[in-house]
Amino acid sequence: MSKWMYVAGIALIAGFAALMVMELRNSTTPYVTKVADIRSFGDRPVQFKGRIVQGKTTYDRATHDLCFALADDAGKTLDVRYDGPKPGSFVTADYAVVRGVYRGGKFRADQLLLKCPSKYQGKR
């Protein structure tokens, strides 16, 4: 195979790879950082990361209904309702990422992920 065909092949592969990266950037669930923006997405699932507000967590063990509040950097809070068992690390987690839809005043989450504390600092 001539050199030209190799060059063309590599260019083709690079092209496909670039297309793939663009595709994935567009199709990932949008990551929202402000509570105010969530409403604009309507029925589309979004991901939101916020600080867990202490003292607003309720958990009904029978129905697996976990209700808590997340706050964004601006201080606005979001009421979240998660259908599922309460993760063990919920008490020590400081941030949570939820994925779901904003419906009827509450954010109904189908995925809940607790962020591990990333401050590798000593106790002051």
């Binding site: 195979m1 065909m5 190799y6 092949g9 590599i10 083709l12 592969i13 092209g15 496909f16 790879a17 297309l19 793939m20 595709e23 994935l24 567009n26 199709s27 029925d43 589309r44």
Partner: protein, 220 residues
């Protein structure tokens, strides 16, 4: 690379296969029995679109593992590989074998997919998208499997090695196909257009790379 050569390879393999029906009958038997086994359990737990699409693709994937590995191995075993190397340029061999593997997989799916849908009473929300996903997913699986089969044909222990070697190459295609079929079955609002495009890019990368590398894999 000559297209005529590729077609000749395809026709030769098709003729051999139709004559002996050895590989296709084994794969078909495997696929049908797995489909029945899967539908049996699925019927008991109730079919969720995600579970159904996963199990369907698992059946197709394992049928591919069972059936597509032989495409190069039997050339080596019957000592026709040397003649093939002389007669046709390397890239044509790859294209011909790729087409043959794809058609084999498609033939197996023509039987098993309707059987699966029937037995699990699976609701297909978008038929066109569903069939499109099946075709694209099969093309992706064939692309990776053909390259892997060629690499394994020179090796000593062919059967299990083929499945192990092709898994890393095929895993992303499998994941995308399952996600896309899930969307097609359950009619999620996003649809499976994104997954279809991803599979096209995947096929593009694997087929282009295999064409460029095939000479190194195939030649003595």
């Amino acid at each position: 690379m000559s297209l005529r050569g590729a077609v000749a390879v395809l026709v030769k393999d098709a003729r051999c296969e139709l004559r002996s029906k050895q590989a296709i009958s084994a794969v078909l038997l495997f696929a049908v029995t797995s489909t029945i086994a899967v539908s049996f359990t699925l019927g008991m737990i109730g079919s969720d679109a995600a579970v159904a699409s996963t199990l369907l693709w698992v059946v197709i994937y394992f049928s591919a593992m069972a059936g597509l590995g032989r495409s190069f191995a039997h050339e080596e075993e019957t000592y026709t590989a040397g003649l093939l190397r002389l007669a046709v340029p390397a890239e044509s061999v790859y294209v011909g074998k790729l087409a043959f593997n794809f058609l084999t997989l498609a033939a197996v799916e023509v039987v098993t997919v309707p059987l699966f849908v029937l037995l699990t009473d699976c609701r297909v929300a978008r038929v066109g998208a569903f069939i499109g996903m099946l075709l694209l997913g099969s093309a992706a699986l064939s692309a990776g499997a053909t390259a892997a089969a060629a690499m394994v044909s020179r090796a000593a222990s062919k059967g299990a090695l083929f499945a192990g070697v092709s898994f890393p190459l095929l895993a992303p295609a499998l994941g995308i196909a399952i996600a896309g079929t899930n969307a097609a079955l359950a009619s999620s609002p996003a649809g499976c257009a994104a997954d279809m495009r991803l599979l096209v890019y995947y096929c593009g990368v694997v087929i282009t790379a295999s064409l460029m590398l095939f000479r190194c894999i195939w030649e003595e």
